[in-house]
Amino acid sequence: MKAHLTRRYRFSASHRLHSADMSTEENRATYGKCNNPHGHGHNYTLEVTVSGPVDAKTGMVCNLVDLDGYVEREVLSRYDLENLNTLKEFAQTVPTTENLCIEIFEILQRGFQKAHLERVRLEETMMNSFEYAAGNELRY
């Protein structure tokens, strides 16, 4: 039997949306308030969905201790209470929540081996959320 398991996490970070390829006016027109040079912050909620066969001995898709440990080490400790623009992955890339969502998916895909990564969903606020699943089908 195959099941999907989703875990929610929270972190807070600041960012500024600004593209070096755009003029000052274009940046302002594109990003509006988010272009404020001093940056601003969000409380992000991260949802990680993994899938796989339910192990007959443990009843689990994967042990939550492993998933929580990996996410804490590789994602939360990297982004929580940081300014995203200062991190190397956002040196050339605008730290929109789209790009952050893809980045987190790739971090998990590179190193988390205990179950199949299905999707990452990131809520920037209660009103905005973004999902990335690479080649996987998004299921509802």
């Binding site: 195959k2 099941a3 989703t6 009843g59 299921r139």
Partner: protein
């Protein structure tokens, strides 16, 4: 095709233990959840069915029937119960959220007449949920 989701809540206790494991293995794999006295959760269940809208009733499913089936098959059996001891599926299986979603699917699937079961989602806490789509593998 229209999808309809009905929610329900139930509270139950459980613990994780596999009799084929040694006590050390049980403690290592299941951690705090291995406490034999059990611990509890407020579960939220979401049942999603799919089907074509009946042209006469305008329904995908008669919600009253769906509610009754969920009550009879799931809530009456699991609400305010110790899952390991009182729900037959968990006499032989570890009552993880994964196995709970599968057991609920199996209880509901054969009872639904009009609509097809699409997904069973079980929240163990607001930050942890499992989806089961009836996939064997």
């Amino acid at each position: 095709m229209v999808y309809l989701t009905r929610k329900a809540e139930f509270s139950a206790s459980h613990y994780y233990h596999n009799p084929d494991f040694t006590p050390e293995e049980n403690r290592r794999v299941f951690g705090k959840c291995n406490n034999p006295n059990g611990h509890g959760h407020n579960y939220t269940l979401e049942v999603t069915v799919k089907g074509e809208v009946d042209p006469r009733s305008g329904f995908v499913v008669d919600l009253k029937q769906l509610k009754d089936i969920m009550h009879r098959e799931v809530l009456d059996a699991m609400d305010h119960r110790f899952l390991n001891k009182e729900v037959p599926e968990f006499l032989t299986k570890v009552p993880t959220t994964e196995n709970l979603a599968i057991a609920i699917w199996q209880r509901l699937e054969s009872k639904l007449q009009q609509a097809h079961l699409h997904r069973v989602r079980v929240y163990e806490t607001p930050d942890l949920f499992v989806d089961f789509y009836g996939e064997k593998e």
